[in-house]
Symmetry: C2
Subunit: 264 residues, 2 copies
């Protein structure tokens, strides 16, 4: 199967413009099974207030953004994972959604909020789903989740072949260096789709990264170029957890020794 | 404080020679607070049988190897962490020991065994200690533990400033690429002391690595050179878990979401 990312700059608080932008980018793509878009691709990132974020959010059951993705996936028989500024009643979540030929498949609500996101979003309470699809088992993470090894491991243990990591990274290359190691130590593929451009004092660092289950960087984008890239993935490489003929990364775990991980 | 590693080639199944070799290397060193030696530095690695390993093991309470390290530490008022082929009754453990000016401080018995080690050693059951010493809080890991993010995280949560990672690495650079990321995502120092040379079909990959709490590689040794290197460590950098003004790596954890990590 073929999978990759779209690295671009959503326009801040211009929902209508982002709909057209995403639609145009996807329509121009070659045939690909899975594309990952950045964090908050429908709204932009650097909100001055909760009210501003709220005005640029949608509910998943009534979303023009998801309709655009669904229409693309239906025509192409493909899948898109995207960051999504999600409204649920009077709450906002920094979510990632997975859309396929039949529409919305599911969502993940970001568990670990970064900096001023804490003033705007509710931390996710709905766990770390893995979605079994005809193109593979897909896990979703959002941006700052990169620094918590726990969530990568949990998605691996739940059978994920590919982690779709929707990002608006601003720190200098830390995540881009780290995701190939998460890929290696969990033996799955990682697609980090980062954005480019600036909003206020924040400059996003691009360098979207595709890593394979041996930690090889299949591709890393430039820091400020709009790019859509994809590669052939061999999911058997993600499903085989053998590191040596006598070492299986899962069978060799010693969970009885890991109690301290749940320490509060 | 100053800390570093000794990268050398223990002589296979030549206990007397290794005693002299280690003593000579340590005596020739400049003053340093902590040195880390490779895995199984007293015995060599690639045993043909359990009997051969047994004949080159010692108990910690009656060890000439530990006496050599203790004598060095006493004279220099310094600390050494070293891999140690440990006999406990009729069992063998692939251990790491920590020795200081007053003698043996403690040990760690390798939890995750690699390849044919499974025929020789008992997997460690004694957990993951962190030793509070006058030069800092030290955690011990051995070689293949590198691929299990759980053990690095547990040592961080238990307050380790520095991980002494005693190694005989043979895979092509995977661990050496990974330990700086373990350092970054846990905000501690890592010293990976790897060995050089060959034993039978195994060639050890050197490239001993010192990484700081921001994931910077302070130094990486050559693949086949004998080296003793150390650097100034600022332990405050390891104790400050702030990633941003509003993100503390420990306070931001969501252990209530991590239950699946203990899945067997």
């Amino acid at each position: 199967m073929k999978a990759g990312f779209v690295q671009f700059a959503p326009e801040f608080c211009n929902y209508d413009r982002n709909l057209v932008l995403v639609e145009d980018i996807l329509d121009a793509s070659d045939q690909v099974d899975l594309l990952v878009l950045p964090e908050l691709a429908n709204s932009g990132y650097n909100f001055a207030s909760r009210e501003q974020a709220f005005a640029n959010a949608e509910e998943v059951n009534d979303s023009r953004f998801i309709k655009v993705l669904h229409e693309y996936c239906r025509r192409r028989k493909s899948y898109v994972a995207s960051g999504f500024n999600e409204r649920v009643g009077d709450q906002l979540f920094n979510s990632a959604i997975l859309v396929g030929p039949d529409g919305l498949i599911g969502k993940y609500q970001k568990i670990h909020l970064f900096l001023n996101e804490k003033d705007i979003f509710t931390p996710g309470e709905a766990g770390l789903p893995v979605f079994a699809t005809p193109i593979g088992r897909l896990g979703l993470l959002v941006c700052f989740d990169w620094i918590f090894p726990e969530v990568w491991r949990i998605l691996a243990l739940k059978g994920a072949d590919i982690i779709c990591h929707c990002s608006n990274l601003v720190l200098p290359g830390f995540a881009q260096r780290s995701v190939p190691i998460h890929a290696l130590i969990n033996h799955f593929y990682v697609i980090t789709a980062n954005r480019i451009g600036s909003e206020g004092s924040l400059t996003f660092t691009g360098m979207s990264t595709i890593a394979d289950p041996r930690g090889n960087v299949l591709y890393q984008a430039g820091p400020d170029t709009m790019e859509l890239r994809f590669f052939n993935f061999d999911l058997e490489k993600a499903r085989n957890k053998q590191m040596t003929p006598r070492n299986d990364l899962f069978a060799d775990r010693r969970p009885e020794m890991y109690q301290e991980l749940l320490k509060l």
